[in-house]
């Protein structure tokens, strides 16, 4: 049982116009076996949270903490975080020319496990995982993400999720740009990884569509760098019907207060 704990996280980026605060005090706790969905309109800071957990250098943590089983994640380098068990499925996976998928997957697996995987079982595992995600076998010969379609890139992210077996998976809008078939395939992959019972999932999404296939226990609504509402799966259903309009940007907290007052009345 592991715990990923985010406490009062403030994150800013440097822009040409100066420093801009994007996350304004986010707190969140995820445990093994749980699935949390983070939903919110564009520009609300969802992806910033994902990138900050992974350690992208663009994002400066100005205050707050992130810990993994009590260990200070913010003190770790990007690769140390991955080896500690955090996995970010990226919104825009990067093409790395000249590095073959085979070489990449084996190098990463070796780094994460601290030892090279046994060649025979590894090759078999990769093949099987690729088949389940309906990725062509010849992808292993191709360079990392190079020339892959949007859907193929996302499937390859989930392939890595299944092979690397992280403690926590952060899925940054993995559903965006996918057609229904691809969405199902990708969701099945996430559910398989989850079903092993050793992983917690943070699912970041703009749409509710993926929640038909991946069932979160907790839903957090993000507006303007803050969690403005939290609840169970029923919150997602409500968002599906009503959208984000009722959370007027910039007045999130006030809107929430009004909304919950109205609900109670």
């Amino acid at each position: 049982m592991s715990t990923l704990e985010i406490k009062d996280l403030h994150v800013s980026i440097d822009t040409e116009q100066g420093t801009k605060e994007i996350l304004k005090g986010v707190s969140l706790t995820i445990r093994t076996g749980e699935t949390h969905a983070i939903m919110g309109p564009n520009g609300s800071g969802k992806s910033t949270l994902a990138s900050t957990i992974a350690g992208h250098p663009r994002y400066n943590v100005t205050s707050g903490t992130i810990t993994l089983d009590g260990e200070d994640v913010l003190a770790m380098s990007v690769d140390e975080r991955a080896r500690a068990g955090l996995f970010l499925a990226m919104q825009y996976p990067v093409e790395v020319p000249g590095v073959s998928m085979t070489n990449f997957l084996r190098t990463a697996k070796t780094a994460i496990d601290g030892e090279a995987p046994k060649l025979r079982t590894w090759t078999k595992d990769v093949k099987a995982a690729m088949a389940q995600l309906r990725i062509d076998a010849d992808f292993t010969q191709r360079n990392v993400n190079e020339g892959f379609s949007g859907g193929e890139k996302k499937r390859v992210e989930i392939l890595q999720l299944e092979l690397f077996k992280p403690k926590f998976a952060i899925l940054d809008e993995t559903d965006s740009g996918l057609d229904v078939d691809a969405l199902k395939v990708v969701s099945e992959g996430v559910n398989r990884a989850h079903a092993e019972g050793k992983m917690g999932t943070l699912l970041i999404t703009h749409y509710t569509r993926i929640l038909r296939y991946i069932k979160p226990e907790f839903v957090h609504v993000f507006v303007d760098g803050q969690v403005v509402e939290e609840g169970g799966p029923e919150l997602a259903d409500r968002l599906e019907e009503e959208g984000y309009d009722r959370y007027a940007t910039g007045a999130g907290a006030a809107t929430i207060a009004a909304a919950s007052a109205a609900a109670q009345a």
Binding site: S77, V94, P97, V99, A108, A111, N143
Partner: protein, 428 residues
């Protein structure tokens, strides 16, 4: 590293409109000189009438106007101000441009299947001058001073299994001259590897004749010792439907300057020019190539990639592609990419595309020089791969695009190992 596709400039899609008299799609025809003088792809008429007088000069701004001659005396002494020498440290040429090149030339040892003919011939052999003519003083100096040449002939319709391996071993630091002729006769197919090793101060002319329908790959490896100085003109002349692939790999030597060229003489031919270079502290690695689209419906594709590390590591890439007025239907693309690994290194990159007709299938050029792409690093590190390993993976990947073009497993392995050694020397 910026994405080169953003710089891609594609020109083409000719209109079917008739020309206005005196105008071409490129604008007004100001001078009849270019049209008259741009007929021949090689030597003869293409030679600027420099020493004979009476000829019309082609403006020096065009690549077609470059002086070509077999005579050293036709070339003025170098000052370093010349366009084609402006990046080269002449002091480090160790006399290749000033001395009589009578030192011991690198030994030439050819290992080839029986179907290939290998001869050592004198200066008067008829094949000498069949594919090349010097375009600079150092090349002309070698032409004037070589005593014997190696001629490698792949007979017509012979498909050679395995590669023809030419080992050129330097014999010391006296300035010397070397001459090799490679002839791929009609419909033959072969791979020739020129393997430069040891210590030498040498100017070299490699003539390459790719006859009609022949398919030839020439790989030139420069794995010299640290003190070697090497100037190499490698000129190829292509017949109808010929396919020529040329790969330059420069890793060792103090100063290495390779000037490959490909000239089309009949339609339907294709060239691919690839290059890989890895410059360490103090090394000067220069490559200047020329593709002469002198006839219609030929294709060329150029990709050179370089890595640089250490103080005063200097690389130069100049890519001249000329599409002459007659070369309708040309399809060409050239690109150079450099990866600068440390401070204190310098990469010069100059793609030149000259187009004298708009009736082409496509023409593009691109150049990008950059440091590590942080996005690549982040992606790999986010998968647990330590920074140092990730950097190596990226450089290896960057250069591997060229290595995997070689398709001779033993050489690919050797070069991969050589790149690993270069990388191991990197201090971050």
């Amino acid at each position: 590293m910026t994405d080169i596709t953003t710089e891609k400039a594609r020109i083409g899609a000719p209109s079917a409109q008739p020309f206005i008299n005196g105008f071409t799609e490129e604008g007004e025809s100001l001078s009849p000189v270019n049209a008259a003088a741009s007929k021949a792809p090689l030597a003869g008429e293409a030679v600027k009438r420099h020493s004979h007088g009476g000829g019309v000069g082609i403006p020096d701004s065009s690549r077609a106007g470059r002086l070509t001659s077999y005579k050293l005396a036709d070339f003025k002494p170098l000052t370093g101000m010349e366009e084609d020498w402006r990046f080269t440290p002449l002091k480090r040429l160790r006399g290749l441009h000033t001395e009589v090149l009578n030192g011991a030339a690198p030994s030439v040892s050819v290992t080839a299947p029986d179907s290939v003919t290998v001869e050592t011939v004198g200066r008067d052999d008829r094949r000498i001058g069949s594919a090349a003519i010097p375009e600079d003083r150092v090349s002309a100096n070698a032409w004037e001073n070589f005593t014997e040449a190696t001629v490698i002939t792949v007979p017509a319709e012979v498909q050679v299994d395995g590669e023809v391996s030419v080992l050129l071993t330097g014999q010391g630091t006296e300035a010397s001259a070397l001459h090799v002729v490679i002839v791929a006769e009609k419909f033959s197919k072969a791979v020739v590897v020129l393997d430069h090793q040891g210590t030498a101060v040498v100017s070299e002319n490699i003539e390459i004749l790719v006859e009609d329908g022949a398919q030839l790959t020439v790989i030139s490896l420069q794995e010299w010792n640290d003190d070697a100085v090497h100037a190499s003109s490698q000129q190829a002349k292509l017949g109808r439907d010929a396919k020529f692939k040329h790969i330059v790999v420069s890793l060792g030597g103090d100063l290495v300057r390779v000037t490959p060229s490909a000239r089309f003489t009949a339609p339907g031919a294709e060239v691919e020019l690839f290059g890989l270079y890895f410059a360490d502290a103090g090394q000067h690695l220069e490559q200047r190539l020329f593709v002469d689209h002198a006839v219609a419906n030929c294709k060329s594709n150029v990709l050179y990639k370089g890595a640089l590390q250490g103080r005063n590591a200097h690389t130069v890439w100049v890519g001249d592609v000329l599409i002459r007025k007659e070369a309708e239907g040309t399809d060409t693309y050239e690109a150079n990419r450099n990866l600068v690994l440390t401070d204190g290194a310098r990469a010069d990159s100059v793609p030149n595309l000259e187009i004298e007709t708009g009736l082409i299938a496509g023409a593009g050029h691109a150049s990008a020089t950059g440091r590590f792409d942080d996005q690549h690093l982040f992606y790999l590190m986010a998968r647990g791969i330590p920074e140092e390993v990730a950097r190596r993976l990226v450089v290896r990947g960057f250069l591997n695009e060229i290595i995997q073009q070689i398709k001779v497993p033993a050489i690919e392995d050797r070069l991969t190992a050589a790149v690993e050694r270069e990388l191991a020397a990197t201090n971050h």
